[in-house]
Amino acid sequence: MSMPPRSRTGSGPLLAGLIIVMVAAVAVIVLAAAGATPQSVWDSFFPVQGVTPATDRSHSTKSLYDIVFYIAVAVFFLVEGLIVFSVFRYRRKPGDDELPPQIHGNNVVEVIWTVIPTAIVAFLFLLSWQTLNTVDAKVPTDVHVRAVAQRFQWSFQYLDGPSSDANVLFTQVIPVGNDGGMFIPVGKPVQVDLLAKDVIHAFYVPKFLFKRDAVPGKLNTFDFTVDEAGTYRGQCAELCGPGHGAMVFDVHAVDQATFDTWFKAQVAQAAATPTPAASGAAQGPVVDLAAQNISYSTKALQAPADTPFTIDFKNDDTGVPHNVAIKDASGNEVFKGDIITGPAEKSYDVPALKPGTYTFVCSVHPTMTGTITVQ
């Protein structure tokens, strides 16, 4: 059978080729200007820039991702290559009115391109099923944490056992920061129970390659072991309202000794009777600040230098804890107010600060920030 005549006429293919080259050139220049290297671009196609994931079971997820990725890329280049080839190869010549061969089908190739994709997806299904069993495996656990999700913050209750009706030893209210977040011992299996108090949330730590929904009325439980010490940022992944994006948390994986010390201190603190709040008269000038909808009422405050002052803080978010902490330019915390759950008000007595610019931030919601100018 003779091949149909080739078309090399017309400016269409030339123009299309030129545009493709130009767009590709612009893309390369922009990427280079933004400081991207071939390696960093390649890494961006893998979860969390291709870093080694943090938990024992996420390694098998990463392997599965890699396999799916390479198969998808291979199929893409094969099929896209066929499309591009057809588009450039089989153009109609101007004035060519002859019909091409009228091919209605071919049973052999149609069976081939049905069977091969079936084989590929069957393989991928079996592989992902096997991986799923690893990821969802239950193991005897040492640490039991109930992650409590509510609009718009996480808190972590440490339990005295794995069962769902275990007693709460203490509650970690602050979700992020050096003394906030979920502390776990590195290399030890941890069980997390998810409890949602109002709407559906999701516990998502990108470096664990894992998320699970926290559903009201349903207990979801999963196990994991973190391989490497470090702090891992997590975030709510199921829309829960206006503050959804602010619902972040940290997981601190620390060595066993550090964990034990922290754990004992928390248990002791929870057992101790809370000290009555100092009620002294407000000293110095008073600064007003309110919190509503997971946001401060103002982004900029002024305060006098070298003299103690008072922040009258009003939390208007019902059921949501907020506070005011002040950090200096290098990020050291110079003041931290008690966390109050709204609707509530509290006066914070802030010690004298040196002149300069400080940031204030909510310990529960690190996206709530502003600057305080001391002069």
Partner: protein, 545 residues
């Protein structure tokens, strides 16, 4: 009285406006579907630009990033999706069906012309009801287009959500009426000789879509009504504190909304399957395989709904994973059939074919990045991140919307009697194709880097800023591509080249009548002996085999 003074039949003059508002002609109704859908496409597009502006840089860097409040941001993306899915893609494809199906099967009109008008007029009504949420206390619906309870409950969202429910119920009713109308038309009104296996693929996709609508949309309606009762009349269907179940809503919702994905893509596949053979001058490769693949996708589409719920912990994962993987097979068959149709053809790159090849390329990516979510453990990592946003836009924009524009450029000459401008059409494609990929391709990387969907702001230290800037520039590029399109339509309506009956050398019956066709469509029909009756009439039987 002995004699009755008969008013002589009033000269059939009515104002054009009256004519359009009261018409039961499927062609006019089809065109009204298209216009109404394009209006909501523009409205949804403006909301998308607000979303992109909000996310361009983190709020704490400067105030540009914080364009709108988080409350309004949630309304913006919720209504963006609601407009695009329920008031643009689904209706515009139904509009193409309305216009093309009776013509393509050689029928004078739809089986129930007045019900046809009703199903159209429910759309602007439902759309207006939904959009009026912006005027309500607390604003429009803001819980995402999925409106999961408890978040969508009365405790957390105001009357905007009720307006959303009512609007969507009307839109669903419109779909159901339309589906019945399509089914009866296709089964009862085909011209002599038009057997089922001689129907154009476009008609087949509308047939399968109508079955999906008929089976799935009532289920959505039931979910919406339960939600409405929970919100307003003290029901507890989805309230776990009172014996309800929050996951139940997701099961019922996705039992509709996954088949709805096929409602949103199958007719676009039908359009592409009309365009490719005409502009390759070849028959569609593997017609019967294509029909069976369409039916298989429709059937499998009912067994994969829970793949939207893998992370709920309430799903039998292996089953839904397997079915989701399997749906790739008939989809792959279609892709290969399309390429084989191009293969060894004689391709004329008019704008419809340009958009159709854009469809092939983008839908290929949308299929492949969907396979990642079928692998359950990978889905645990990427679910509800920007990866999913990338995936769905590659399917519904790169797929459906490119198919829609292929259809507009393909049938505009038939609808109006005038050609659209080719240069403007290709300019639109070029800008849209570049803008589309700039917007949505980086979202793969954002999702892999851990950026969740539906957040109004992010930290500068998260490392997501650069890609969000690219995506926002891309979003405005897409918006720019709409300008040559609108200009093209306006100019071509007045002064476009006269099309004639059959400007593309088409295959199917709509090209055997005038452009635009007369009321009731045909003066006479060619013989129908294959799925390409007009081709046969042009070239004679010998050439077809």
């Amino acid at each position: 009285m002995a004699t009755t003074t008969l008013n002589p039949a009033a000269p059939a003059y009515r104002s054009a406006l009256y004519e359009w508002l009261t018409t039961t002609d499927h062609k006019k109704i089809g065109i009204m579907y298209l216009i109404n859908s394009i209006i909501f496409f523009l409205a949804g597009g403006i909301l998308a630009l607000i979303v992109r502006l909000q996310l361009v840089i983190p709020k704490d860097a400067t105030t540009i990033g914080g364009l709108v409040s988080p409350e309004f941001y949630n309304q913006a993306f919720t209504m963006h999706a609601s407009f695009m899915l329920f008031l643009f893609i689904i209706p515009i494809l139904a509009g193409f069906g309305n216009y093309a199906v009776p013509l393509q099967i050689g029928a004078p009109d739809m089986a129930f012309p007045r019900i046809n008008a009703l199903s159209f007029w429910l759309l602007p009504l439902g759309g207006a009801l939904m959009a009026s949420g912006f005027l309500a206390t607390g604003g429009a619906a803001a819980s995402g287009w999925t409106e999961y309870p408890p978040l969508s409950g009365a405790k957390f969202n105001g009357p905007g959500t009720d307006l959303w429910i009512m609007g969507l119920t009307l839109i669903g009713t419109s779909s159901i009426l339309g589906a019945i109308n399509f089914l009866v038309t296709i089964f009862k009104m085909r011209a002599p000789g038009m057997t089922l296996f001689r129907m154009p693929i476009m008609v087949w996709t509308i047939l399968v879509t109508s079955v999906l609508v008929l089976m799935a949309t009532p289920v959505l309606t039931s979910a919406l009504i339960m939600l409405f009762i929970d919100r307003n009349y003290g029901g507890h269907f989805f309230d776990p504190a009172n014996g309800g179940n929050a996951i139940l809503y997701q099961n019922v919702f996705w039992f509709y909304s996954h088949p709805a994905v096929y409602i949103m893509i199958l007719p676009a596949m039908g359009i592409v399957s009309e365009v490719l053979p005409v502009f390759s001058r070849k028959p569609l490769f593997g017609y019967k395989a294509f029909v069976f693949a369409t039916v298989a996708i429709g059937a499998l589409g009912f067994s994969v709904w829970a793949h939207h719920m893998f992370t709920t912990g309430a799903v039998f994962l292996p089953f839904f994973s397997l079915m989701t993987f399997l749906i790739a097979v008939p989809t792959g068959v279609k892709m290969f059939n399309w390429i084989a149709t191009l293969w060894r053809g004689k391709l004329t790159f008019s704008t419809p074919l340009v958009f159709a090849t854009g469809f092939l390329t983008m839908f290929l990516i949308g299929g492949l990045n969907g396979a990642f979510s079928a692998a359950v453990p990978v889905d645990f990592a990427i679910h509800d991140t920007y990866w999913v946003v990338a995936h769905l836009h590659y399917v519904l924009f790169g797929g459906s919307v490119f198919g829609v524009f292929a259809g507009i450029y393909y049938w505009f000459p038939k609808m109006t009697g005038r050609m659209l401008n080719e240069t403007l059409g290709k300019l639109q494609f070029l800008i849209m194709f570049i803008g589309f990929n700039m917007t949505f391709f980086p979202m793969h990387q954002l999702g892999l880097a851990g950026m969740p969907r539906r957040i109004a702001d992010y930290s500068a230290s998260a490392g997501w800023t650069d890609l969000n800037i690219v995506a926002t520039i891309g979003g405005f590029t897409i918006a720019a591509s709409i300008l040559p399109f609108l200009w093209n339509v306006l100019v071509s309506l007045r002064s476009g080249r006269i099309a004639g009956d059959d400007p593309w050398e088409g295959n199917t019956l709509e090209w055997a009548t005038s452009s635009p066709p007369p009321p009731y469509n045909f003066d006479h029909l060619p013989e129908i002996r294959s799925e390409r009756p007009v081709f046969d009439a042009r070239h004679g039987q010998a050439a077809a085999h």
